[in-house]
Symmetry: D5
Subunit: 95 residues, 10 copies
């Protein structure tokens, strides 16, 4: 099941630099892991913004929430979730 | 070069039914063609809305405009274009 | 899987009265059917508005789209879908 | 009498950790109590957000205000209240 | 129980003049009746707009919906309902 | 002359507790005084929010500004003022 | 008493040309009359828009409503009214 | 050349009181000077808000920017500039 | 003097095709003329939208209004005007 | 390839003055360099605001992101990117 997710990142300026580095490293490691196991199917950076858009492939909305809520950067993310479905004009629907 | 594109469709109620059918068929044919030649790389339907989100892969913003402007449904579309770039945590950037 | 759905209804004034009656009757019949089979789990009217909010219980986002897209009133609905998950303070999570 | 309530939570980052834990525990205890006595009839988490939507069943708007105003987390909540009524297509109205 | 209600009126230009007159007369009669029986407790015109704000005193949100939904002008009204409660600094709370 | 006024209150968390108590007491005293002398004609709390709506009866917009600007809580209020006039369907206009 | 007023004009395309001419002439005549008797104290066109901003000087909000409601173009105007008062740094307050 | 300017003031709470007084005094002196030399042609306070609206008469947009950018309060102002022109129904255009 | 101008075009569907063609041809001729005489200094199409952004170089805001108001497409344009000035980091300011 | 870029600047008040000066000097140097090498083709200040609008000429959206992300002021900028294309009525398209 696919969900379109936009995340706007706002890490506080006064976060301890070491904590910030650790947080960003943990976020990156988790993002790679989620991509490798097929959950975070697409991930792009929005040009000119500290934001990303992507598509998650999960078994349920509950699983998506678990994944998002536990992202290391979650406390500093503004997240918008949009459920997707196959488009009737998509190649997959017109083999 | 990737662009995120959201389209909200609003075909007028009073469009002649034959014209409407022809228009939608032309749109579908063009969408399939653009997907087959790799320009419309992703296309999804937004759940519960007559809208879609997708990603275009083009050589330039000019090419993207040519493609969008000439979609059969263009006069009835509200389109938002967001340029994308590779995310530093994407798999492609971390081989 | 639960989705929160808000629908704002705007039936055009110039719709043929018989067509309108048929449409509303079909919508009501379908709403009852969906409630009876457990898909449209909750349905409330918003006070003072031709709008409703409710909760759907479906197996997937795709199923939800099928259900919404095929509602008789769909062409006249503005729909907002919000995926839900169990709240950690809900009774169901604290038996 | 039913009211739809959405709450967006924003606990300040600099709240003392012990105070935060106590606050969240008190909020959870109160939420469970309100659910057990039938006031907080439904409670769901919004996927990907520190937010919830729910439905309260109270005797009056005054009672609802008392309940919300006295939630332990109230100072950190943004709350939207929408009065509901029975939908003419709800099962309860079509026995 | 008190509810704050704002109504923005948009009667279509092409409504038959006789129907329009009848509608406005019916609306006025109903507004007076609701004021006389204490339901529509306050009613003011917003300066420079075809809009009004007011306060309704009803036994329940359901009653409020019945009243609003059956206003003759309802199809041409955009209505916002805000539940009210006694303010702790109101005279009534500080006799 | 009547003005509709909505106030959203946001007292800073870090205000000294004694200063806060004094401020709120002064605000309450002033609100009661203004109600007793007929200036603050109506005052209600918005359910679920640290906000109020009310109606002021003043001799001029200048007087209203003097009153609002000098409220003890003014620095922490977001205020929206809407001028009102008698509604042609109000009881007062249809004796 | 001064009120800041912005008006956005939207005369329907299908208005009979003679009616439109008459309406605009009546509006102009009334605007000049209101300026000559000191009520419409300032009147400017917004660059690039069919809109104007201005300042009215009236004895009461009721008088302002009477004036605005009876403008020939009123049915085609979107009007925003903002009450003004003397600024403490204005010349008039610092003679 | 006339420009409509709205300013919303937000002086930080933690500004040193002496600095604040000096800043406000400097702003007032500059506002009076600009009014005396005809640049700040009109200046009004918005009722109930720490905001003002006014009209500037300058030789160019560049001059306006110089004036606004160098206001003592500039760092704490949110400014909206709207270019104005003579209204065809203004007295000045209909001598 | 420079002004940034965005125009969103919405030509009505039911405009007579010959009138539409004439209108668009007149708009194009006027746009070219204004560019040739240096008034419409920059003109770009927004990708994926029937909109343009550009920069006008005029002697006054009055001249800009004359130009915009008399564009053949003016009745079908939504126009936003933003006055510009030289940026202190622009090459022209740092020769 | 052209992109329209608007930047709103919000340098925190509590930034160390020396750091602030260094940051602004670095931003200015980089802006000049980007203009000299033809990337930042146009740069204007918005009148009355700490904001600028401009046009970038880059080989790709990726290049634009690299440029924007590495601006010294980036952490304090809110950036909106709009892709542009040649307007069919531009001089360049009508030689």
């Amino acid at each position: 099941m696919l969900f379109h997710v936009r995340m706007d990142v706002a890490v506080p300026r006064d976060l301890d630099p070491a904590e910030r580095r650790a947080l960003l490293a943990a976020e990156k490691a988790r993002a790679l892991e989620l991509q490798r196991n097929g959950v975070w199917r697409h991930l792009w950076r929005v040009v000119g913004q500290y934001s990303n858009v992507g598509v998650f492939d999960v078994d349920s909305a509950d699983e998506l929430h678990e994944v998002l809520w536990n992202l290391p950067l979650f406390p500093y993310l503004t997240i918008q979730v949009t459920p997707l479905t196959e488009h009737p004009s998509a190649l997959s629907a017109n083999p």
